[in-house]
Symmetry: C2
């Protein structure tokens, strides 16, 4: 399957991150679907500001960070930065700090930078790659992207099996590749279903990213406000709640966009299964205590909606106890939360 | 206590509904707090359109409907309408249809119109009131308003006793007089507490009505999005969830603004009490089956937030099972849901 061909506009690789004319361009998810525009970054600091400013989100920062490694190689080639592994490491550290809760980017960058390190310390690797750093980093990044794409496809296959004819699926935020590939696969199998999308205030990723993407794919989509999930579950419209995970801890607990917890509790109350898509747990997070929860500027909640001096609060992520999660779809299979530790510590 | 003096701007009587220069003016809650403006209605049909269009909400339609009875008397005085009880009844029926779920307005209008009927059939009443219909209707409406004010004050006293020093109180939508009087009373007693206000999409009654009103009273207020209630409860910031009720059925189940159910379930999950303010149950509603649930135009959910052709859904009210409700504050006292039937069928 040509991933880039089947995925909706906002998930096509060239609309997430790319390098053009010495700029790293990031697809601006804040402006979609009203325009498909890009934020142009000249430096890694600008890339970090864009990530912090929600230009991209969800799995976007991971792809931006991978592209940023190629961008650093280009900066070195242009002699704008020192030709040293430290240049990659400093850039990587800045990127990692730009999104503290979702650790996939951090874990991947650490691996990539470790492999780039081999370039600097191993004459053999330089010779094999014709001493071309850009080519080496690009090939490395491409191999990671291919691995992720294969994981997405595997999860899409697995996820689609959970979707039944006539289902009402509730989702929050923008669950991206693996969730959307599950829907595409279920659609190919001829199943009819409706996806109820929580708008996801204040950035409206549900209304602005998920709903237009599913609509583009010809799926039935209905937008609701963030307070309506329990109502629809009670009314029998929902068979399954499906979201991405910004993080899965080794105890099977899940971190995802704020709003997910309320729906997960309502699902548990009305006996509706909650399914989470995750590439892997973070092996360094045994449980809640080790997770860093990002609080964003409360102005993003109150701005324009009430008097300017009134306070707000913006906990960006929910922590969802493993007892509220029915299944976790991973590239290795579909597991219950209490299986995660066993499956993901017995070697990859 | 001079109610009109202590209540915040949006709840002062003259800002809810009034008659001026032959118009019935309704305080426009859609534009508050950015302006305190009024929608001018020349006919009862226009009043109904304003109620349907959310110019006023919560307890507002009740006060508008009472004022509308005085307005009908004025129309009769001006010979714009026939001098007959049917004129009141037809206007009343139109008003009752404008907000189907909350039945307080309907129940009150039926009582008021029954009493106006006595004007038309009883010579004695006409003589006692100097044959002045406007004076009679105005006095009648005033007596209802006084009764409601006394009920609000009683509920405020009772509600304040539930609020403890240091509390974090979660609320949804705009719980109006009895809730706000509870907070005012608790504040007078020197208690410090914080009210977390769910913004209440799509009309933002939380951000736009509740938050500025509490801020005006000098209370600590924090605005959150509708998906954040469970998050704050889990983090230990919330001791009590308090809302108004658009309807209480005789079995102690509650109807309130969509978003309330999700919070009530989260409260139950984390053992936090949910308190509802209600003047009385609707004796004609024994349980859920008899309640009419208003669905509003889904365009109100999606408009401006996504592509125009994408569908939405707007169930305006949540039904909350009695098992999720801890206490119901009424003018007669604070009761558990299962006491409601006994207390409110043994005579008034």
């Amino acid at each position: 399957m040509n991933l880039n061909k089947v995925l909706p506009t906002i998930l096509k690789k060239e609309n997430i991150a790319k390098i053009e004319d010495g700029f790293l361009l990031i697809g601006d998810r804040r402006k979609y679907p009203f325009s498909m525009s890009f934020v142009e970054c000249k430096t890694i600091e600008e890339v970090c500001d864009a990530i912090k400013g929600m230009v991209t989100q969800g799995g976007g920062p991971l792809q931006v960070a991978l592209t940023a490694m190629c961008f650093v190689a280009l900066q070195i080639y242009n002699k704008e930065k020192k030709d040293s592994i430290e240049t990659f490491r400093e850039s990587g550290n800045l990127l990692m700090k730009s999104r503290p809760t979702n650790t996939t980017m951090t874990r991947t960058l650490n691996q990539v930078i470790d492999q780039i390190k081999s370039w600097y310390i191993c004459e053999q690797i330089r010779r094999t790659n014709n001493n071309d750093l850009i080519y080496f980093v690009e090939s490395l990044v491409l191999s990671y992207e291919e691995k992720f794409n294969n994981d997405y496809l595997a999860m899409g296959k697995l996820g689609s099996a959970l979707i039944k004819e006539g289902d009402g699926i509730l989702t929050t935020c923008f669950a991206e590749h693996s969730f959307i590939l599950s829907l595409i696969e279920a659609q190919k199998e001829g199943k009819k279903f409706t996806v109820y999308v929580s708008e996801t205030r204040p950035y409206m990723q549900g209304s602005r990213l998920t709903a237009p993407s599913l609509d583009e794919l010809g799926l039935n989509v209905v937008v609701i406000t963030d307070g309506m999930g329990a109502n629809l579950i009670q009314h029998g419209l929902i068979n399954r709640y499906m979201t991405a995970a910004d993080l899965v801890a080794m105890d099977g607990s899940v971190v995802n966009k704020v709003g997910s917890l309320a729906n997960a509790i309502a699902c548990s109350y009305y006996n509706i299964p909650y399914t989470v898509f995750a590439m892997s747990p973070d092996p360094s997070k045994t449980d809640k205590k080790e997770i860093e929860f990002e609080f964003r500027d409360a102005k993003e909640v109150v701005k324009g909606e009430t008097l300017e001096h009134i306070k707000g609060l913006y906990p960006a992520f929910d922590y969802i106890e493993s007892s509220l999660v029915d299944t976790i779809v991973t590239p290795k299979g579909i597991f219950s939360p209490n299986e995660i530790k066993k499956i993901f510590t017995s070697g990859s």
